[in-house]
Amino acid sequence: MSTDLTAEGGHGAVPTGPEVPVEPKASTARRDWPLYEVFVRGKRGLNHVHVGSLHAPDDEMAVHAARDLYTRRNEGVSIWVVRSADITASSPDEKDPMFAPNGDKVYRHPTFYEIPENVPHM
């Protein structure tokens, strides 16, 4: 049996060894429509939550495609789409410089303060 078959990826045994190319060819890359990130509000009262992305030629088509792709079974009541290129992100791994200062500001949390048991409603 070939050494490069894995069953991973749902539907079964497929070669996934190093001979399978992965890097995009420059000629095809960017031929596709721009990438949009999709956010869905599950129901009234909830935040819009990121659900994935899709390609679309423009904003309006992105909303239509998002409706078909991400809300086929009442997953939501409202959709936001935004061009991926327009998102500025802090990466989880930049977390240390970005979020570390909060770590020693324990006084920002309610549990920092000791209140006697007999004080009601606090």
């Binding site: 069953a7 045994a13 995009p24 659900v51 989880p92 410089p97």
Partner: protein
């Protein structure tokens, strides 16, 4: 006024990044797209997610062949919803692959050029309408066994896509099983059709789990990285154990004389799998390999004008 000088941190060294990555995996946390990751992990994931996405979209074809021939409006609506779901699964997965630096148009080109593969199971033909039921029951059932553990894959976007997919797969399996129950309650000819379809799909379904563990050297690395959670043989065994009682309820005989409950383990023993068949199908010699790729190529090329028109419209209105 001169620009302030920035205190740039020194480039982090690879060993420290690797140690951090290993610690995240060891803690059972998820790797996210902008994290540093070893090249082998990134490329391995692209290969896996891409072939998975390809399998979903090629997987639309065998059942799609029955869309117009399904026997009632109800059955047509169900089948249409299922085939549409499979397109959706492909899209979720291509979008997960793109978070790793892959490009969707490039991946689908590589599929058409046969440089990346899709699951061998979709190279078998759907000869009768009973095949639609058996695909839902066995093929989607096997996919569920493979996919449920992937919901805990170490790569965040892949795991999230799989959660979404798994929710929908349950409908796929149940509609197939219900279709078969209906046919089994029908005429002798319908029951014979089901039996024939089960005979044809049983062994290819078992092959979906891949070669035996002692013949899958890549699995070990995949399991260390938390990309894969269970071995091929373990998943195959789970599938058999789940399916045999379902076959009994349905009243069909699985085409394996060696299939028997092992009282010591409570699990089912089954006969040897013909791996040469899997090898031949993967090599391109299955009954439908050429047809599947040809249709995918036609879908891309014949519809290119739609893509171009929408792009032209968008750029005209962007001005």
């Amino acid at each position: 006024m001169s620009a302030p000088t920035l205190d740039r941190p020194a480039a982090p060294d690879e060993a420290a990044l690797q140690a951090h990555f290993d610690a995240v995996i060891a803690a059972g946390h998820r790797i996210e797209p902008r994290d540093w990751m070893p090249e082998g992990y990134r490329q391995g994931l692209i290969r896996q997610i891409a072939q998975h996405a390809h399998s979903e979209i090629i997987g639309m074809q065998p059942e799609g062949d029955w869309l117009l021939a399904a026997p009632s409006l109800r059955r047509k609506a169900i089948l249409l919803a299922k085939v549409q779901d499979e397109a959706g699964h492909g899209m979720y997965l291509y979008s997960a692959a793109e978070t790793l630096g892959a490009d969707r148009a490039d991946l689908t080109d590589k599929l058409i050029e046969r440089r990346q593969k899709y699951s061998s199971i979709f190279n078998y033909p759907t000869l009768t309408y009973a095949d639609v039921g058996v695909i839902g029951w066995l093929v989607d059932g096997a996919a569920i066994c493979n996919q449920v553990p992937l919901c805990r894959s170490s790569y965040g976007p892949y795991a999230r896509a799989m959660i979404r997919v798994c929710k929908e797969e349950s409908f796929h399996q149940r509609q197939g099983y219900e279709l078969l129950m209906t046919m089994m309650a029908g005429s002798d000819a319908q029951r014979a059709m089901v039996a024939d379809a089960v005979d044809r799909w049983w062994w290819p379904s078992l092959m979906m789990f891949g070669p035996p563990d002692d013949d899958s050297p890549n699995s070990a690395q995949s399991m260390r990285w938390g990309v894969k959670r269970h071995s091929n043989d373990e998943l195959r065994q789970r599938f058999v154990d789940m399916t045999v009682p379902q076959a009994a309820v349905l009243g069909v005989t699985l085409p394996d004389p060696e299939l028997a409950l092992d009282p010591a383990t409570g699990r089912y023993r089954f006969g040897p799998i013909d791996w040469s068949e899997l090898k031949a199908v993967i090599a391109g010699n299955g009954p439908c390999n050429a047809e599947r790729i040809a249709r995918r190529r036609a879908a891309r090329d014949d519809n290119a004008w739609v893509t171009e028109a929408a792009t032209a419209y968008a750029s005209k209105h962007a001005a």
